[in-house]
Amino acid sequence: MHALEIQGLGKTYKNGKTALNDVSLTVPQGSFFALLGPNGAGKSTMINVLADTVRPTSGQVSLFGHDLFADRGWCKRRMGVVPQEIAFDPFFTPIEVLRFTSGLFGCKPDKAWIDELLERLELTEHCSKNTRQLSGGMRRRLLVAQALVHRPELVILDEPTAGVDVELRRRLWGFMRELNGKGITILLTTHYLDEAEELCDQVAIIDKGNLLTAKPMKQLIQDVASSHLWLNYAKTIALSEDDKSALAAYDPRTSETGVCLKLGRLEDGNSTFHQAYEAAVARFGPPIDAGVRSEDLEDVFLRLTGKGGVVS
C-alpha cells in the first residue's frame, strides 16, 4: 500500500499563479521520500494541501488508502507536519504546547513519549521555559516534536533543518532515520541535497509546479547522473570546429586550460572513459592531469531544473 497517492493535483492561486500543475506521484509506505525543487517550485503548496491549509484546485489524494478530502479527520490523525515557517505559541511552555498538540489530534498526552521527544530533540532543559525564550533552532525542534507527538504514520517535514546547526541536524536526521526504521513514512523537503541523497530512498523533483521525475534515489542517480572526464593542460585550450566535430560524441567543453568530456556507457555497460581519453590525447596531446567526476544528486537536480548552467 502507498502511504500517499497523489493524482493530478493542481493549485492555481487567486492571483493566477499556478503553483501545482497536474502533479501525480506516489510515496511508498515506509519510505524516506525526498521532495525536491527550487524555491517557488510548488513543494510547500503540495505540503500545505496535504496539511489542509491550502485548498487544491483539482486532483485526488489518498493517504494509506483513504481519500484525504473525504476523510480528513482519519487522515489528519495519521499525519504530522513540520511547517516551513517557525510558529510558536507565546503563552505556553514547550511541554504545554506538546500536551495541547497531542490533545488536539485526539491523543491523550503520553508523558513518556513527550519526555522522549523533548530529550531526543534536546529540549528537556528548556521544557519549562516560555516559548518566547527559545532560540530559533529550539523553536524549530519544537515544531518537529509537535509533528511527532501524536505518533503519526506519515511525517511531513518542510525544510525542518533550516537554521539548525550542523551537529544538531545530524542528530535530528539520526532520529528521523530511526523512526523510518520503525516503519514511519517520511516525506522531506530540504535544500541540503547531500542530506537528501544520504537519507532518502525515494526522490521526486518538481519545478514550476510540474513533476520532473519521481523514482528510487539509486535509480535516479544510475539513470540520470552522468560522469565527466576532466583533462588539464599547461596551455589554454580553445576548441576549433575540427575539435568539436571530432569530440562531438563527448559533448566537449573547455575552461581555460581544462577540457571536459561527457562520458557515456558502451553496449557492454563499460564507460567510454578510454575512448574519450584517447580522443582528447589525439587532439590536444597528453594532459598534465586528468580525472573523472560523477554527478551527484545536486548536479542532477541543477541540470533537471535548469538552474545549473555548465556543470563544473
Binding site: 492561486y13 487567486k14 500545505n48 496539511a51 489542509d52 491549509t53 491550502v54 485548498r55 480528513r72 479527520g73 482519519w74 489528519k76 490523525r77 499525519m79 507536519v81 511547517p83 515557517e85 517557525i86 510558529a87 510558536f88 505559541d89 507565546p90 503563552f91 505556553f92 504545554e96 495541547f100 498538540t101 497531542s102 490533545g103 488536539l104 489530534f105 485526539g106 491523543c107 491523550k108 509537535q146
Partner: protein, 256 residues
Amino acid sequence: MKPINFLGTKTLFKREVRRFLKVKMQTVVTPAMTALIYLLIFRYAMGDRLVPGLDIDYFTFLVPGLAMMAMLQNAFANTSSSMIMGKVMGMHIYLLMAPLSAVEVVFAFLAAAVVRAVIVAVVFLGVLAPFVDIALLHPGVILLYGVSGSIIMGGLGLISGMWAKDFDNIAMVTNFVILPLTFLSGVFYSVKQMPAIWQQVNYINPFFYLTDGFRFGFLGVGDTNPYASMGIVLGSVVVTILACWMLWHRGWRMKE
C-alpha cells in the same frame, strides 16, 4: 457520521481558558480595578440621583449594565485576540491541521469566551456587591442573557479574528464597532431618557436587548420586556453560531 473529536475539543477549550488565565492581570484583575474606578466615579459623583422613569438610584442601575458590558467586551477579546495572535505567530495552522471539525472548533472557542465573560462578571459584581443593593431576582434571565451575550460577542470575535490580518484590524473592529455598540446599548442610561430618534437607534442595536435583559434579571425593571426580547437574543445566538460554523468550515481568510 464522522466520529466526534471529544478530546480535541476539550483540549482546545482548555487551551483557550489557560491562555486567558495566564494573563490574569489583564483578564481578571483589570475588571476588579475597573469596578473600583466606576464605584469612585459614579457612586459618589452621582449620589442618590434616580434614573427617570425607573425609580431606581443611578449607581444601582449602572452596575448590571457595566457587568454586561465587561462580559461582552471580554468575550470578544478572548476569541479575537486568540485568533489574531495565532495568525500573526503562525499557530493557527495547528487548528487547521488538527482533526477538528468546524463545529468542534467553534464550540471550544465560544465555550472559553463564555467562561472568561462569566469570571469577569463574577469578579466585577463581587467587588461592587458590598456597595450596591442588587439581588439575583431572576437568575434564569441573568444566565440566559449573560451566556447569550457572551456567545454572540465570542462569535463576533472569532469572525473578526478570521477576517483580520493584523492587530490593527482587530483594534479597528474593537474601537469602531464593538465599543460604540456596547457603550450605546443602554449601559449608562435608560432609553426613556433619550430623544425619540435615539430611542429608535437603540432598538436596532442588538446589544441594547442584552444589556436591558441582563439588568432586568438583577433589578426586575428595564426598558423592554426581557421575555419578549428573548426571541431576538436567541435568534442572534443562532445566527452568530451558524455564521462562525460556515466561515470556519469554508476556511474563510484562513486557507488559501
